[in-house]
Symmetry: C3
Subunit: 360 residues, 3 copies
Amino acid sequence: MNSVKHIYSNPIPIEELAQYAQATLQGSSDVLISGLSHLEGATCGDLSFVVKPKFHEAARSSQAAAFLTIHPIPDDPRPQLICPNPMLGIVMLAQKYFSPPLPQRGIHPSAVIGHDVRIGPDVSIGALVTIGARAQIGSGVTIYAGVHIGEDTVIGDDSILYPHVSLLTHCILGHRVILHSGTVIGSDGFGYAQHEGCHQKVPQLGNVVIEDDVELGANVTVDRATFGSTIIKQGTKIDNQVQIAHNVVIGEHCIIVAQVGIAGSTQLGHHVMIGGQAGLVDHLTIGDQVRIASGAGVTNHVESHHTVGGRPAVAHNTWRKAQVLQYQLPEMRNELRALRKEVEDLKQRLPKPSSPPLPT
Amino acid sequence: MNSVKHIYSNPIPIEELAQYAQATLQGSSDVLISGLSHLEGATCGDLSFVVKPKFHEAARSSQAAAFLTIHPIPDDPRPQLICPNPMLGIVMLAQKYFSPPLPQRGIHPSAVIGHDVRIGPDVSIGALVTIGARAQIGSGVTIYAGVHIGEDTVIGDDSILYPHVSLLTHCILGHRVILHSGTVIGSDGFGYAQHEGCHQKVPQLGNVVIEDDVELGANVTVDRATFGSTIIKQGTKIDNQVQIAHNVVIGEHCIIVAQVGIAGSTQLGHHVMIGGQAGLVDHLTIGDQVRIASGAGVTNHVESHHTVGGRPAVAHNTWRKAQVLQYQLPEMRNELRALRKEVEDLKQRLPKPSSPPLPT
Amino acid sequence: MNSVKHIYSNPIPIEELAQYAQATLQGSSDVLISGLSHLEGATCGDLSFVVKPKFHEAARSSQAAAFLTIHPIPDDPRPQLICPNPMLGIVMLAQKYFSPPLPQRGIHPSAVIGHDVRIGPDVSIGALVTIGARAQIGSGVTIYAGVHIGEDTVIGDDSILYPHVSLLTHCILGHRVILHSGTVIGSDGFGYAQHEGCHQKVPQLGNVVIEDDVELGANVTVDRATFGSTIIKQGTKIDNQVQIAHNVVIGEHCIIVAQVGIAGSTQLGHHVMIGGQAGLVDHLTIGDQVRIASGAGVTNHVESHHTVGGRPAVAHNTWRKAQVLQYQLPEMRNELRALRKEVEDLKQRLPKPSSPPLPT
């Protein structure tokens, strides 16, 4: 099936790319680049990248037109852009030259927009978008087809909402926030008071605040606070199908991988990293730069800079040792049985405890 | 960023709130309440609540205008509403006075409604809703923008469907059901017959029946039955991102926390509670008032009133002991090695088994 | 509440069903069948099925009008269709005679269709569907209400997209693909380059390719590749709420149960089966016909034909033994303590190590 690599750009002279990526061009400057690719997938016209010398062989057999590399690739005549961080270089070039274009600016006539909505300049509001009364849409915002925006919401500049996002009433997005398809911001928190065997719904009267440069994946859910705000602070990136309960506060620049669940009122510091499918119970305090292994079940507070794993989560080393040893349980049990037998044998071969002790 | 606490109500005299919550007013009655809040977030005009004496100090330093409390807060001049269950009181007041208003009644002109649809009085059908032929919508129902309702569905009175719910053909909702955004009711069950290395789809011919007063969170999925019905009985509350497979039956007044998965044909009794991220395999029978710990993997039937945890799930006490001891495995192995060594030493110091036994 | 069993078909003579299912009719041919059901739910007019003799008693007390069965049911006067694989027979009959009809053919006037879209014959495009520019829709395709199809996508013949699917730009679906509601195809992969404490978004320039006869459940997410394609090969079936990260390749005829997560660039062979809630880390190679137990956490490559389970996943037998023994940890620890005490006692009863050894 056909590839989509070359769709986003007219060919760019390699010298221009070298200059923008602050890289040193080695070899011919007479090459045009029309796309980016990893080494195996590269075809003619592609710029590829090499982050370690061990990939030099793969580079030589790649069909790329040129390379962005930390060390020069020996014995290869193709142009090379030498720079200290090729991955960052490729990101810069991709963002500048090779990203898919934003959709056409303007408001599609099929969008349904409530009263007193304020809309900044240079927005793109797609087909069949619904925007509730009094919402505020910043400049440069892109709202794809079928998005729903509730009443009294605020969306900062240059944010992007992909198709079928539900951003519910009174929630607040900062600038450059990205919400992927199917994500729900501002659903009710899960709170009930017990009364005569029934669960009485606690009205969820707060909202969700998402700060600048946050990205949320597809089908994420972020519940509104009971009172006050559920908060995701700036620069945090969250993968698909993550669940954030009411009154959670997530610090700056965290990374939360897919299918994680964070229960109510738990607070995370900055630069926390959480692996896929981990779960955090409610009302925890997780410090700064904490790392939580994938699949962990966190049931206690974690101090800053610690790494934890396992269910229940404990210090990383403790968890790793126990993880390995669980599979030696059969041997341990057999050894226990063997020892029991030998101790019984030894007991048989010794005088009975009621006898006088052996002379020493 | 701004708060949303005071948006929902005109100020209410505290005496009216005391009367409605069946609480005894102590202190001045000359106060108007314009919102509810927890102690830390409260500002002037807020009523807050105190469920235990240990929060009296936090109450005294809170900026709330008044308190709903089980015991009088000493040394605080502000009005206090004394009642036996402050949490239930706050819920009653929130439901009555401080909940967000339902959207405007009526049918938005952009809604697409099929033939022979029956719609009760006092409904709100939002922008760009689609309703299939022969659906029945009860009185007082609220359907937010972008909801899809399939053919031949039935929705009971006063139910609320948030934006982007998919309620598919032939499914039946009771009264006062709440479905949050992105939730899918009536997707096909996951069933295939094997035939020559391929998976032949088993048509899923049943439906989903959701009884009165059920609430489902955001991005929940409930599959339709192969034959018959997948059933969620009255009063059950289900959190975000829960998966309910075909032919599952969930009893009355259950609580199912986020990211739980329940496999096909498993049946739950009433008042079952399931912690987040637990999984239940197919064809299980779970009794009444069973409690399943978060993260558990249930592979066997569970009798009524039992509490289970772990993977595979076992009795709660058994699981908790094993959970703690898993992290003592390194010490246990070291102790085993030490014992082995000592037993070998002892053997050396005893006559060989072939020798006559020591005199006793 | 009412059943939906008989809605899909006019009554069919049982002889016609016998012929189509290649079954031998035993008993009266003078019966009309109007629906299919399992034994307990069957009512008059239903054909039910019996896969094992142990269900003969349940069959005799069922109200079904007739049975599809591998062995004749003794002492039952009702017509019986004898065939070697009743489950496959029921699937064939359900697909042919008793499946819900596809929605009306044609393009709903409220659909918003971009420029240069190519649409094959005999399609059904529902209300409020949005289709981006240059998309290609094959013949016989069914697109339910509220689906979004991005620019430059390709959809093969006879595929079905349920309400609120998001199929994003440049993705490619084969023939007879089924996507259930809320599923997102082509969201950005989760990739960032670290730069001075911030996470720089790596543009995700690839797409998703889904081959023929693949079915994805509700609220599934499949991320587009960074470069190249995320691929799901033909005949694979994926349950609800599964997460497939960027650059994953899933082989032919796999079965992936609900809430599984597969991290970036991991590759699966053909006929792999993954139980619910399992997780696979990134960059793994999983061979053909591998079986992964539900809840497993796979952190290493798995060779073809192996079965693994546990966190971290190991060979099935190793995991099962350890799983059972984890709950014997308290007994093992007690046994260790008892042995320690007895060894100490034995040492007391033996000469001190500094003494000369016992004569042998």
